[in-house]
């Protein structure tokens, strides 16, 4: 069975339940569904923020996410996979990103979701700008995120 990943880059919000249902509805072969939702926090490093604005590279973003989604499909026995990434202005408490994985087995569903999130953080062409109390600034990339993504590199 060939599984096609659902990939959407949009300014609108998403609905986790609806995306899970889209992968599982009417099926009786799925045993495990993992969802990851990334949410805008109201502070960064102790400083309150009013909002994030996500800039992205539209022509590249979908291709880059699809490449990693296809890698996940080849590495784990997945029955469904969805990645949704928002762009534009996002207020604290609002959703930023969603990954949903479906598999017969829980370990595959967990690992594939974590793999995709680690790669989205470091390789998907999105940049976060924060509106803080002292003006706006670009959020810096994290070494932790690079290390997290490196875990998945096959040696």
């Amino acid at each position: 069975m060939t599984v096609a990943a659902t990939i959407r880059i949009q300014d609108a919000d998403f609905d986790v339940a609806q995306e899970i249902a889209a992968l599982t509805k009417g099926r009786t072969d799925i045993g495990a569904v993992v969802s990851f939702t990334g949410i805008c926090r109201g502070s960064e490093k102790g400083e309150p923020i009013a909002a994030l604005t996500l800039e992205h590279y539209p022509e590249m973003a979908e291709a880059e996410i699809r490449r990693h989604a296809d890698e996940a499909l080849s590495r784990w026995p997945l029955q469904g996979l969805a990645v949704i990434h928002r762009f534009g202005r996002i207020a604290p408490g609002e959703n930023i990103v969603l990954v949903v994985t479906a598999s017969p087995h829980r370990r595959a569903a967990f690992e594939a979701a974590e793999f995709l999130m680690d790669y989205l953080k470091t390789n998907a062409p999105f940049w976060k700008r924060e509106e803080g109390v002292h003006g706006t600034g670009w959020i810096e990339a994290s070494d932790h995120d690079d290390a997290a993504a490196a875990r998945w590199t096959k040696s």
């Binding site: 800039e55 291709a63 990103v97 989205l120 953080k121 062409p125 670009w138 959020i139 810096e140 990339a141």
Partner: protein, 83 residues
């Protein structure tokens, strides 16, 4: 070739994209960064730390030593912070 800039690279240069024809001796991404940095103050500021700049050719990530011959679109940007 079309050159695109994102995030603070875009802000420092003051434009999101432009069409450029670098000379033949500009062969790699690194060469292109050096050539761009010499185009003026805003470019020099954007590329003052070449090691933090990431690049993509035709929508795929590339390393600084990647050849640019045949590229239709090259993009420069800071490390990504999506997800």
């Amino acid at each position: 070739m079309r050159v695109k800039y994102f995030a603070w690279v875009r802000e420092r240069i003051g434009k999101a994209e432009e069409t450029l024809e670098p000379p033949a001796e500009v062969r790699t991404v690194d060469d292109l960064i050096g050539w761009l940095a010499a185009r003026g103050e805003t470019y020099a500021h954007a590329f003052e730390k070449p090691k933090v700049i990431r690049a993509a050719i035709d929508h795929a990530h590339v390393k600084p030593d990647a050849m640019i011959a045949g590229a239709r679109e090259i993009a420069f940007f800071p490390p990504m912070t999506g997800g």
